[in-house]
Symmetry: C2
Subunit: 405 residues, 2 copies
């Protein structure tokens, strides 16, 4: 197994306000090339510390990818640290210098003297072209270890990695990954259902990741265990059935949007406790005007009556948070908008407004179409944002299941 | 200066799908206690690797905070790795064992044998109570170094840190941080305006962080430069004026919600291109039913006409994306809902639907109240999600400025 590690350089990544995210992109790409990331380090702009971290990484791993600290300021020290670790001098690369000068010339600016140091490359290393900025990258192979230095801005880093770094990268045994996404089930429940499958895996690996309102399952196998992976996927499909809403890293709204467009259907929504979040999710997808006709956020009883003609008597009799009101909201928004589907959501997002009979987290989700209206009653755990998300997730899932019947 | 580092343990944090975020919370808390984070490491579930990482950290830093790997499975190895690093045995802590057993008993479950290992504590260490889960934390002071082991789930980790770990933490020289948030201005523009201030700072530090649709400024100073910090804050206020929408880490919707509640005013919204996102932001705040009356997402022309009585002739004459339509939307939603304020947004979120005359990113935002209707025309850079965010940000800012007049 080829082992890699990622080092992110920059004191801003050691504040409470910025996390390193470049490493997620790099990990994905390294995995695709059969290389496993075994450690990540984040270090500040300190020459000795950076050099020390490189030396630790070179003892653990075969490939080291560093991001950040290649700018023109005195705080940018990654290239100096690499030279220090290698015990070699920095040398001016004239081709790179010309390219940097040219970049400035194109914008009619004289290159500041500070940028000259970006053309300094440790002796024996190769410069990697930066098509989106002034900082070139650096690649060197030493003692069988490959070291890559990339700029920090994701836009520059990703383009350089794809075009100029990957051709140098040693690649390992390819492995395959299959993703499954499941909505509205807890991690432990899914884990338990899959135990007959996961307990028999040999070479294939199983990972379950819990996100808000959904669970992601990853099955991973090296090339020579491809058969086992295929069998495992089939057996997972048999166990979970239509609980699986996607076999890729798609969101629920993407899946629903694809179904609506595929069947040429439209939807309109009437929301109370989700406060527009369902409409927002449905309109996150480019081209959503093809399937989304309208939405109303009827927070007050007056708005439920005026915009949806929900009778005040119905609200008085059952309460605004009730199955009959959710059903009426779904049916009314559908007929008023002439859409194929109407969704109604009413519930209590909290933290206030709950009672013993109708606690925070109680949500009714209704879906109406030409032939049937379905309503589901949920009791979600507290947390305003989570309740909004879970309620919209339940509504989208209801629509998905109806569209795939 | 007291130096700290954070070690996150868990192979899932080395996949392309999960980033460590616990460290941001911990960094903030450590900073508040005058301690600077100098490095972060993320390592997989490997006994020797974890022990090695602890030993490296103990050479660099005074305080080590580790998260994750305290569960009951064979993959959970942080406590074993600490014992290995310390060269001490693990010992059963009977009080902790009782607490774990009790947790299960409360749910009428017999404690699985696997959980017994969670009561094993390295000799000489102190167990830290976990009020939200089975995994206790661990604290030890050795050779003048403080080491904390905390569980991985944020909910368990944060509560344990606050209540049971902080009392042990050595604290350094306090420093003060003042935050300013500015909406709808670019990073470089703000940076340029502030140059007369930032170029004269002595002990105080200045950081500018760009987020979507807003910029955050941090001024930081040690206790003995408090005067300088106060002066810098005043001079920043003089330069930026009401462009500063918050002097804390509040969101724009929190600030607007506070103003609406303070003045006892209500708002309703009519959205087109933002697709419910503005309503969602306004209803993210607990108690939003006090100030949010209703919202409509009028995607189609028919819905603009039926829900808002926008005349078809007006749409034909000016186009749905136009100042007159935005104004009518704002005024109509205000009068139909009997709210104090009405907001209308119409624009082109893209990627399709743009033209030379009306390109993607063109957005009209209108705010109506009893005495005046204001409309603003924006041309945001492309990116559907960004355009939705920026448009809602512009609308909220318009309302904020009106409320603070």
């Amino acid at each position: 197994m080829i082992r890699a590690e990622i080092i992110a350089v920059g004191s801003e990544l050691l504040t409470p306000f910025r996390a390193d995210t470049n490493s997620l992109y790099l990990t994905r790409s390294l995995e695709e090339h059969g290389i496993r990331v075994v450690a990540k380090t984040i270090i500040g702009d300190d020459l000795n510390q950076i050099a020390h971290v490189i030396s630790i990484a070179s003892e653990r791993s075969d490939v080291i990818v560093m991001t950040g600290g290649l700018g023109p300021t005195i705080d940018d020290l990654t290239r100096e640290a690499l030279a220090k670790f290698l015990s070699v001098p920095l040398q001016l690369d004239k081709t790179i210098l010309q390219k940097i000068e040219q970049r400035f010339a194109e914008r009619n600016i004289k290159m500041p003297e500070a940028n000259r140091k970006q053309a300094m490359i440790p002796k024996g290393a190769t410069a990697l072209e930066n098509e989106n900025g002034t900082a070139p990258g650096i690649f060197i192979e030493t003692d069988g270890k490959q070291i890559f230095l990339l700029p920090g801005p994701p836009f520059e880093m990703e383009a350089m990695w794809q075009k100029h770094a990957l051709p140098h990268l040693r690649t390992g045994e390819h492995f395959e990954r299959q993703v499954f996404k499941i909505a509205l089930m807890g991690e432990s429940k899914v884990d338990e259902m899959l135990r007959p499958l996961t307990s028999t895996l040999k070479q294939a690996e199983y990972t379950i990741l819990a996100g808000p309102g959904e669970v992601e399952i990853h099955l991973l196998a090296p090339q020579d265990a491809k058969e086992e992976l295929l069998e495992a996927c089939n057996s997972l499909r048999a166990i979970l059935g239509n609980r699986v809403y996607a076999e890729e890293l798609a969101t629920m709204e993407e899946v629903v949007a694809r179904l609506l467009r595929g069947f040429n259907k439209t939807v309109s929504v009437a929301e109370s406790c989700t406060g527009g979040f369902l409409a927002h999710r449905l309109t996150q997808i480019p081209g959503s005007s093809n399937y989304f006709e309208r939405g109303v956020v009827t927070y007050s009883n007056a708005s439920k009556n005026q915009l949806l003609q929900v009778p005040y008597e119905l609200i008085e009799q059952h309460g605004a948070v009730s199955a009959p009101v959710a059903i009426t909201m779904a049916e009314q928004i559908r007929s008023l908008s002439h859409s194929d589907f109407g969704i109604g959501i009413t519930g209590i997002a909290g933290p206030d407004g709950g009672s013993e009979q109708k606690p925070v987290g109680l949500v009714f989700v209704a879906l109406a179409d030409l032939t049937v209206t379905r309503v589901e009653k949920y009791h979600f755990p507290p947390g305003r944002e989570r309740i909004k998300f879970m309620s919209s997730q339940a509504a989208l899932n209801l629509l998905r299941l109806r569209l795939t019947e």
